[in-house]
C-alpha cells in the first residue's frame, strides 16, 4: 500500500504507535516492581533482569523456534533473579538498594556473557494483532499493530489492581508491605511473602525483556535496554503503587520515547540526540513533582526502604 500524505498528523499518530510499541516493557517491569514494592521491598536490579530476560528469551525462541517458549524462559530466568535478590535481602544488615545495583551489574554481565552467540541469528518474532483493519491509511494501520504482550500487560494491570483490592493474596502482600510486625502477629511469614513477591516481580521484568528482543526492537543486542528497567521503577513511584496508574504512566513514557523518531519521520531532525534524553528528563521531572519534601509519600507501602 502506498503511504498517504497526512502531513503533521503523522506526528501524533507516530507517537501513539510508538507509545504502544515502546510502553510494553515499561508495563511489565513497573507491574513487577509494583508487586515487589507493595510487599515492602525494592528491587533496583530489574534493569539487569530485563536485559537477561531479553537475552534468554531470544536464545530460547531461536533454539525452539517458538517465541512463546522464549517468553516463558525469560519469565523463569527473571524469577530466578528475583529469588536470589529476595533471599539476599532477607538477612539483617543487608541494604536492598545496594543489592539491587549489584544484581543489575550481575544480570547484565551474565546476559552479555551468554548472549554473544545470539547477536547474529534471527529468532522468530512475537505475533501482533492488526487493530487498524478498519482504516485505509497505512500509517494508522502501522500505528495500531498491537502486540499480544501489550494486551496481556493491560489485562494484568487490571487483574493486579483487583487482586490488591479484593483477594486474600492481595491483602497478605499489603499487610506485609505496611507492617512487618502486624504480618507476624497475623501468623504470616514476611520474608517468604517478600521472597515470592520479588520472584513474581522478577518474572514480569523478564517478560518485559523478552518483548524487547522478540518484538520491538526485535533482536538481541548488548545495547537493547537503555535504562527502561530503571525508569519503570521510577514510574511506580509516579503511579503511586497503583497497577492501573502504572499502565497509563507506561503509555506516557512510551510516548515520550517515541517523540524523537516521530519528529524525525516528518523531517524534523534538529536536536535528534537531545530527544533521546526526553524519557529521562520526563522521568526526573515527574519524580521531582511527585516526591514530597517530608518523605511521607501518599500511598507508599510503609515498610519500603525507599521512603524511610
Amino acid at each position: 500500500m502506498e503511504p498517504v500524505e497526512i502531513g503533521l498528523w503523522g506526528v501524533p499518530l507516530a507517537i501513539l504507535g510508538g507509545a504502544i510499541r515502546v510502553s510494553t516493557p515499561f508495563i511489565f517491569v513497573s507491574l513487577g516492581e509494583c508487586l515487589t514494592e507493595r510487599s515492602g521491598r525494592i528491587n533496583l536490579g530489574l534493569e539487569g533482569t530485563l536485559v537477561f530476560g531479553a537475552m534468554s528469551g531470544y536464545a530460547i525462541a531461536f533454539e525452539t523456534g517458538n517465541p512463546f517458549a522464549g517468553v516463558l524462559a525469560a519469565a523463569l530466568a527473571g524469577a530466578c533473579f528475583g529469588v536470589l535478590h529476595g533471599w539476599i535481602c532477607k538477612f539483617k544488615g543487608v541494604n536492598d538498594i545496594a543489592v539491587g545495583i549489584a544484581m543489575m551489574l550481575l544480570g547484565m554481565g551474565l546476559a552479555f556473557f551468554f548472549g554473544k552467540p545470539y547477536i547474529q541469528p534471527q529468532a522468530p518474532d512475537l505475533p501482533a494483532i492488526a487493530l487498524g483493519w478498519w482504516s485505509d491509511i497505512p500509517q494508522v494501520r502501522a500505528a495500531l499493530q498491537v502486540n499480544v504482550l501489550f494486551i496481556a500487560g493491560g489485562l494484568l494491570a487490571v487483574a493486579m489492581a483487583w487482586m490488591f483490592r479484593t483477594t486474600r493474596i492481595g491483602l497478605i502482600v499489603r499487610v506485609v508491605g505496611d507492617s512487618t510486625d502486624a504480618a507476624r502477629a497475623m501468623g504470616l511469614n514476611p520474608d517468604l511473602v517478600r521472597l515470592l513477591a520479588t520472584a513474581a516481580g522478577g518474572a514480569l521484568a523478564g517478560v518485559g525483556g523478552a518483548y524487547l528482543s522478540l518484538y520491538y526492537p526485535g533482536s538481541w543486542t548488548e545495547g537493547i535496554s537503555s535504562g527502561q528497567g530503571l525508569m519503570a521503577i521510577a514510574l511506580v513511584i509516579f503511579a503511586r503503587w497503583n497497577p492501573i496508574n502504572c499502565f497509563w504512566a507506561a503509555l506516557l513514557f512510551g510516548g515520550a520515547g517515541a517523540l524523537g523518531p516521530a519528529l524525525q519521520s516528518v523531517g524534523i531532525s534538529q536536536g535528534y540526540y537531545l530527544f533521546f534524553a526526553a524519557p529521562y528528563v520526563l522521568t526526573l521531572g515527574l519524580l521531582i513533582l511527585t516526591s514530597s519534601p517530608d518523605r511521607a509519600m501518599q500511598g507508599a507501602p510503609l515498610e519500603l526502604s525507599l521512603t524511610k
Partner: protein, 369 residues
C-alpha cells in the same frame, strides 16, 4: 589478699589482651577480604561451569595487570578514573546516600573540559589547564550536587535520580559531539576538536602513568582528612547515622548532603578531565567507559573508606586491564570481567550481615580465653 582484688583481665597474658584490642579492628579488614576471596571462589566455579580454567584466568590477570612495568602502566591508567569515581560514591555514602550516577559526572566533566580547552586555545597553557580542571569539576559537582539537593529538599530517591542524570549526560554528550562542538575532521568517531599539545597532561616522572593517578591519591587523602579529622566530617558522620539526631543537634544537614554530593561529583568530573586531557585528547564516546559503574563496586569493597579505595581500585584496575588478554587467550567474551565484578559485588553485600556476628572479632571472645 591484695592479689584477689586484681581484675581478671590484668592477669591475662599480653597476647590475649593484644588480640582483644586488635580483633574488633581486624573485622573491618577481614570480612571484606574474606568476601573478596569468596567472590574469587564463586567466579572460579562459574568458569569451571563454562569449561574454562580458573587457574589460567587468575594467571592471566596477574600477567596482564601486575607482572611487568607495562602491565602496571595498563593498570594505573585505569586507577585514576576508578579512584575518583569511587569517591563520588563514598562521599555521599557517608551521609547515607547511595549515588550511582558517577558515569554521568565523568561524561559531563570530560565534555566541559574539552569544550573549555578548545575555547581557551589563546590563553597561556597554565591558565587554560586550570580553566579546564575547574570546568570539569564544576559540571561534575553540579550534576551530583543537584542529586543531593533533590534528595534533601524534595525527597527524590538519589539512586534513581543519579542514574537518570547519567543517561541525560550521555544524551548531552552525543548531542554536543554530533552537533555544535563536532570537529569536522573527526569522521568515524565524532569528537570535539583535539586539544592543543600544551593543554595535554603527560606522564609522571619514574612512573609510567599520567598525573591523574597522583590527583586520585590526593583526592583520597583530602577525603579521608575531611571525613575523619574535621568537624564537618564529624557532623556528616552523625547525619549519616541518624538524620533526625543531627537535625536536633542543629547540624546543617542540607548543606552537608549537598556539599558532600557536590564534592564527590567534582572528583568524578576531574576523572572526566583526565580522561580527556591525558588519555583521549578530545571528548567523544570513549568517555562512556563504565568507570562510573566499576567505581560503585570499588567504593562498596572499600566500605566507603577513602584510604581503602586506592588498593581496591588498583586490584580492580588490574582485572579490567587484563580483559583484552583474557578475551584473546581464553576465548571468553568481554563481559567476563562484568560477571566477575557482579559476583564479587553480590557477595560483598551478603557479607554485610556478618558484622558483629562473628565471635572471633568481639573483645570478649579473647578476654575469656
Amino acid at each position: 589478699m591484695s592479689s584477689l582484688e586484681h581484675s581478671p583481665v590484668q592477669t591475662r597474658p599480653t597476647g590475649a589482651r593484644f588480640l582483644a584490642g586488635l580483633m574488633p579492628r581486624a573485622e573491618a579488614v577481614a570480612i571484606p577480604v574474606g568476601a573478596l576471596l569468596a567472590g574469587f571462589a564463586a567466579f572460579s566455579v562459574f568458569l569451571l561451569f563454562v569449561g574454562k580454567s580458573p587457574v589460567e584466568f587468575f594467571a592471566l590477570v596477574w600477567k596482564a595487570g601486575f607482572s611487568s612495568a607495562f602491565s602496571w602502566q595498563n593498570t594505573l591508567s585505569r586507577v585514576a578514573p576508578l579512584v575518583l569515581a569511587a569517591l563520588c560514591v563514598a562521599l555521599p555514602a557517608r551521609l547515607g546516600l547511595v549515588v550511582i550516577g558517577g558515569e554521568g559526572a565523568i561524561v559531563l566533566g570530560g565534555l566541559a573540559a574539552a569544550v573549555t580547552g578548545t575555547a581557551a586555545a589563546g590563553l597561556p597553557a597554565g591558565a587554560g589547564m586550570m580553566a579546564m580542571v575547574l570546568a570539569g569539576m564544576a559540571l561534575g559537582g553540579l550534576c551530583i550536587g543537584a542529586v543531593g539537593a533533590l534528595r534533601i529538599k524534595r525527597g527524590v530517591n538519589e539512586t534513581i535520580s543519579s542514574l537518570l542524570m547519567a543517561y541525560i549526560a550521555i544524551a548531552l554528550l552525543n548531542h554536543f559531539v554530533e552537533g555544535p562542538f563536532r570537529d569536522p575532521a573527526s569522521l568515524n568517531k565524532p569528537s570535539t576538536a583535539p586539544l592543543a599539545e600544551a593543554l595535554r597532561v603527560g606522564d609522571m616522572p619514574f612512573i609510567a602513568a599520567h598525573w591523574g593517578v597522583l590527583a586520585g591519591v590526593a583526592a583520597c587523602l583530602i577525603s579521608w582528612i575531611l571525613i575523619e579529622r574535621t568537624t564537618l566530617g564529624f557532623a556528616a558522620r552523625i547525619a549519616g547515622d541518624n538524620v533526625r539526631a543531627a537535625q536536633v543537634q542543629g547540624l546543617p544537614v542540607s548543606r552537608l548532603v549537598i556539599g558532600f554530593s557536590a564534592l564527590g561529583g567534582a572528583f568524578a568530573g576531574l576523572a572526566g578531565y583526565f580522561e580527556v586531557a591525558a588519555v583521549h585528547g578530545s571528548a567523544n564516546a570513549s568517555l562512556i567507559a563504565g568507570y562510573g559503574y566499576t567505581g560503585i563496586l570499588v567504593a562498596f569493597l572499600a566500605r566507603h573508606n577513602p584510604l581503602a579505595i586506592l588498593p581496591v581500585a588498583i586490584l580492580l584496575g588490574g582485572f579490567e586491564a587484563s580483559s583484552g588478554l583474557i578475551q584473546r587467550r581464553m576465548d571468553l567474551p568481554d563481559a567476563t570481567i562484568l560477571v566477575f565484578e557482579g559476583m564479587v559485588f553480590v557477595i560483598i553485600l551478603l557479607s554485610e550481615m556478618l558484622y558483629g556476628r562473628l565471635r572471633a572479632f568481639t573483645p570478649g571472645f579473647w578476654e575469656t580465653r
